[in-house]
């Protein structure tokens, strides 16, 4: 692997304002293939805004985005999907009142004939992914409603979905905030496995220990600006903490 590979995704001079409130000011951000980047900063630093811009939920006021060095526009979820970006939100982006299968294929249903759902094929794929990709226990049917799953099981479903749809890059917005200690461990392990499969990830969290354990590099935001970018070798949890607190 060459160290100077073109970034998988690069954001240059991104600004975003809501009315006269500036959430992001001239922010630069990049992520390379096979890299896990921790996006750190205190509340209101602009982390979520940056993730929303990458996932297509928000559109920047100004700035440029490049995918593999080529200019790209992300105006909607569909656009980011096309670029291989998948977001896993705090609430894991699943609809509680719908079944696992219907969530797994939400918006990307397999159909046959005149637009009818291919239930059999989708059920088989879901079960295969859950048993073999995320190796999740306790789910024996694709018809189980997501609201009956634990937080960790929900994340696992979301991750299995990302893996199945050949995601190049995962955006994880506070994925551990609703998880038990054991489930968090499992999620971090999944991140490691995904990285081994060549998937990059942006990991937003308040928990610096989780970040330090799973990220290769840390980008720290403060009041809408990117203030530091440090690799894991260059820093410690304590130093990261000091940077966030003092800015």
């Amino acid at each position: 692997m060459n160290a100077v590979a073109t970034p998988l995704l690069e954001l240059k001079g991104i600004s975003k304002s809501y009315g006269h409130i500036e959430a992001l000011t001239q922010a630069d951000f990049d992520i390379r293939p096979n890299e896990v980047v921790g996006l750190l900063g205190d509340n209101g630093a602009g982390k979520s805004t940056l993730v929303k811009i990458m996932s297509g939920v928000e559109f920047p006021t100004s700035g440029k985005i490049f995918r593999d060095g080529k200019p790209a526009t992300i105006r909607s979820r569909k656009d980011s999907e096309r670029l291989g970006i998948e977001t896993i939100y705090q609430d894991s982006a699943l609809v509680g009142s719908a079944s696992i299968m219907r969530n797994f294929f939400a918006g990307r249903e397999l159909t046959k004939g005149p637009g009818l759902l291919d239930m059999q094929a989708m059920n088989a794929i879901v079960m295969d992914q859950l048993l073999n990709t995320v190796k999740i226990a306790g789910i024996d049917s694709p018809d189980i409603l997501v609201e009956t799953l634990s937080g960790g099981q929900r994340q696992a479903v979301a991750i299995a979905r990302a893996v199945y749809f050949k995601t190049a890059m995962l955006l994880l917005d506070e994925p551990t905030s609703a998880l038990s200690v054991r489930e968090t461990d499992k999620l971090l392990a999944h991140l490691g496995e995904l990285k081994a499969d060549g998937v990059s990830a942006v990991f937003i969290t308040h928990n610096l220990y989780h970040a330090y354990e799973s990220c290769d590099r840390f980008v720290i935001l403060s009041r809408g600006r990117v203030i530091r970018s440090l690799t894991r070798e260059e820093t410690t949890v304590r130093e990261l903490n000091d940077i966030i607190v003092k800015n």
Partner: protein, 338 residues
């Protein structure tokens, strides 16, 4: 590897018992059981006292078959919309307007089939307008459709002042909606056909899946790339169309349009859906539930009439069933969420 093997055998063994348990947890299962028990009691009662309780008399059976489809078809549209998390209060007015539209177009010399197509289009357009107003302005559909309910009702009043209108099409067209096949009324057959179409659409089509997801959690649905606004507008359009179909079914049978016909129908349709296990919050429910809900609502009224209960009992019973159904469904949903 042994673990995988045991996992797989567990997987093969579990579904059957699990499926039954899950099925019984579905709100629609309890309402179906209630329906079957109720039906059995009525049939036994009618067999024991054929003179006092004429439930199985040909007149009553045929009456039920003609009465259920009208509210049933309206409820199919309202229910579909309710699953996407919205309401349509304008269905009663659209239903009445559809009767006027059929009668007036026919009187003006338009062929019944063309009148039918135009009438359904009117329903669809009103639905689309309801949808666009709700989605684009972000106001609750309850208010948006209350506005169109009053507006369309005013239009119907105005039309009604131009004289009474009747609709007496030729034998061929009339028998399409009022005939019967082996004792089954045409209207009831239409209801079943439309219900099956709605079931395939909701449970097995891509856009049907999107309706459940939008109703379940609109923000998430949008985040996974579903065009939530378009899905909702389609649902509003179908609700308007269903109300218009019900209006056509009714005018073909009754023959004369009167302005008071659809009064209160919007709330009865919502009641049918709620009895059938749909949630006011959206995202849940089945077409089977709507069909059974419509049957139960009419059976209760019918039985009370056969027993010569005073009129006010009808409302009391329907109200009681409505509240009991919601309590039962909510409890079931809460239990299965644990």
């Amino acid at each position: 590897m042994t673990k995988t093997a045991s996992d797989l055998s567990g997987l093969a063994l579990q579904p059957r018992s699990r499926r039954w348990r899950d099925l019984l947890r579905e709100p629609v299962a309890s309402i179906c059981m209630l329906f079957i028990v109720f039906q059995l009691v009525c049939i036994v009662g009618a067999l024991l006292f054929p003179e006092a309780f004429r439930y199985l008399s040909p007149q009553n059976v045929s009456l039920l078959q003609r009465a259920i489809p009208v509210i049933g078809v309206v409820a199919l549209g309202v229910g579909l919309l309710m699953i996407t998390g919205e309401y349509d209060l304008s269905v009663g007015s659209v239903y009445t307007l559809a009767g006027y539209s059929m009668a007036m177009l026919y009187t003006a010399g338009v062929s019944p089939v063309v009148a039918l197509v135009l009438t359904l289009l009117i329903g669809i357009v009103i639905g689309i307008v309801n949808g666009i107003i709700t989605v684009k302005t972000g106001i609750p559909s309850f208010i948006a459709t209350m506005g169109s309910m009053l507006l369309v009702r005013g239009l119907v009043r105005w039309l009604s002042e131009m004289g009474s209108v009747s609709f007496r099409p030729g034998e061929a067209f009339a028998s399409l909606f009022t005939g019967s096949v082996f004792g089954v009324e045409a209207a009831f057959i239409w209801f079943i056909v439309l219900a099956l179409a709605a079931a395939v659409f909701l449970h097995r089509s891509k856009i049907g899946n999107h309706m459940y997801l939008v109703g379940g959690n609109e923000r998430t649905a949008r985040a996974v790339g579903i065009a939530t606004d378009r899905v909702k507008i389609v649902a509003f359009a179908l609700s308007g169309m269903a109300a218009a179909i019900a209006g056509v079914l009714s005018i073909t049978r009754v023959g004369t349009a009167t302005p008071a016909q659809g009064l209160g129908m919007e709330l009865r349709a919502i009641a049918v859906c709620v009895i059938g296990g749909l949630f006011l919050s959206g995202g849940r429910g089945t077409v089977l539930g709507i069909v059974v809900g419509a049957c139960i609502l009419y059976m209760v009224e019918d039985v009370l009439l056969l027993l010569r209960a005073p009129g006010f009992y009808l409302d009391v019973f329907v109200g009681a069933i409505l509240v009991i159904a919601v309590i039962a469904n909510t409890a079931l949903a809460r239990r299965s969420a644990k």
